[in-house]
Symmetry: none
Subunit: 261 residues, 2 copies
């Protein structure tokens, strides 16, 4: 199960921290590291030194230009976040996240990304809105900035504890959270981004949405659908609705007299 989880570091400044993260990952049995636009040089000797032998993880690390690409194949994206944000978003602590692991990885196609932001200012709001949920380590409110590798250590420790607990109870029957097994894989981030893009264009077509005066509309809709975690059939269904909505709007527009002639 731990092999289905990738660690994504966004805009990391210090190569040493990347090495510390690789070490923490390998300690806990994870293998896949993705770097989004690292600000320091990479590869770097500080990374190799701090990894204390987790060189394989550094060598196989994938580098991306933007977070969207790094999580494109993931069915659950969890972003590390401070507690308060202007738009409330589902927020778990590491243990609550780990508690969902077994269910999340019930499908072999499912993949999870844990996303960690910059050392100095974390993830941007836009990046946080690419996440299904946010994870917060409940630290001392007067001294709340964890070292990057330390944060990864805590999260991956919780995931490992959950996996060990799952292995321990393997003889016992699976908990059924949906009455029966969910029979369709969840949509991955790429599919969801296409959907959100389609949704936004459709809302413009029906004059509901004005990108110049967004009023948090797309953020709110994104939050709603991210909470629901649509599966692939559901996304197809929603996009079918959008396509017919656009047809209706555009036929309608075509019959209108041109606005200026």
């Amino acid at each position: 199960m731990l092999k289905a989880i990738k660690i994504v570091l966004v805009g990391t400044s210090h190569p040493g921290n990347i090495g510390g993260v690789a070490r923490a990952m390998k300690n806990m049995g994870l293998a896949e590291l993705c770097l989004v636009a690292p600000r320091g040089k990479f590869p770097h000797q500080d990374a190799a030194f701090r990894s204390a032998g987790a060189i394989d993880i550094l060598e196989q690390a994938k580098i991306y230009d933007c977070l969207e690409d790094a999580v494109a194949d993931c069915t659950l994206v969890a972003g590390s976040s401070a507690r308060s944000r202007h738009l409330p978003w589902p927020l778990l602590n590491p243990r609550e996240l780990a508690g969902r692991l077994e269910q999340e990885l019930a499908h072999t196609e499912h993949r999870i990304a844990l996303v960690f932001g910059r050392e100095d200012r974390g993830l941007s709001n836009e990046e946080l809105h690419l996440c299904h949920l946010h994870v917060h380590i409940p630290c001392n409110p007067d001294f709340s900035s964890l070292n990057l590798a330390a944060a990864v250590q805590v999260l991956t420790y919780e995931l490992r504890m959950a996996v060990l607990a799952t292995q321990e109870k393997q003889a016992m029957p699976e908990a059924q959270h949906f009455g029966t097994e969910w029979d369709v894989p969840f949509a991955n981030s790429e599919t969801l981004e296409h959907f959100f893009n389609h949704l936004e264009h459709t809302l413009i077509d029906i004059n509901f949405h004005n990108p110049d005066k967004p009023r948090q509309l797309m953020s709110r809709l994104r939050r709603l659908y991210m909470r629901a975690r649509p599966d692939t059939i559901e996304v197809n269904m929603l996009r079918g609705i959008l396509t017919l909505t656009q047809q209706a709007a555009n036929k309608n527009a075509a019959t209108k007299p041109p606005e200026s002639n």
Copy 2:
């Protein structure tokens, strides 16, 4: 409760690691650091740098010649240890240790020491035998050496989680699942039924839905939105979208030639 717990580092080589430990401690709300025969120079600028502002903990750190003195006032001494030792000793994982915290600190006079060994070879057998019990972080057996600060981070995180759980039990405050309080009431069933009714009519209007051949469509959409638990603002937003979709569809229909004349 966290103030009754001290972290004891034995024979630490790298001052930077002492700083990393101080940071981890302060992140989790601990304050008391003891150093037993540190092998590097202390105080040291590397320690100050890695502490990232937890200077107060470094400045107040006490230095001892031997572990016995450092833990003299403690009623429970827990030593960090690899799994296998020649003489079996009570061995807990960090969560099991944290689970005992409340009971251990039931007396105000009780004090706990968490003891961590040298970066390269841990605690000696003699030192381990000064402990009431041993704690082992269940890491990857093929790559089991955690960074010292990372090990302290995991242990102190577990202790903090236990203390927060105890406090929640005592005060029963509201659970904060969304970073801040969800600021809008969830839609009630009546509101949701109106929405689903509106949705179904709209889907008929855009020719997506044929009530004579329902194909589980409304059931699937219902399941999707029920999972998301829309709040009242979100339902208003969705209904606004439906209204404009219907306007687009109906204007369009109005311009079509009547089907039978």
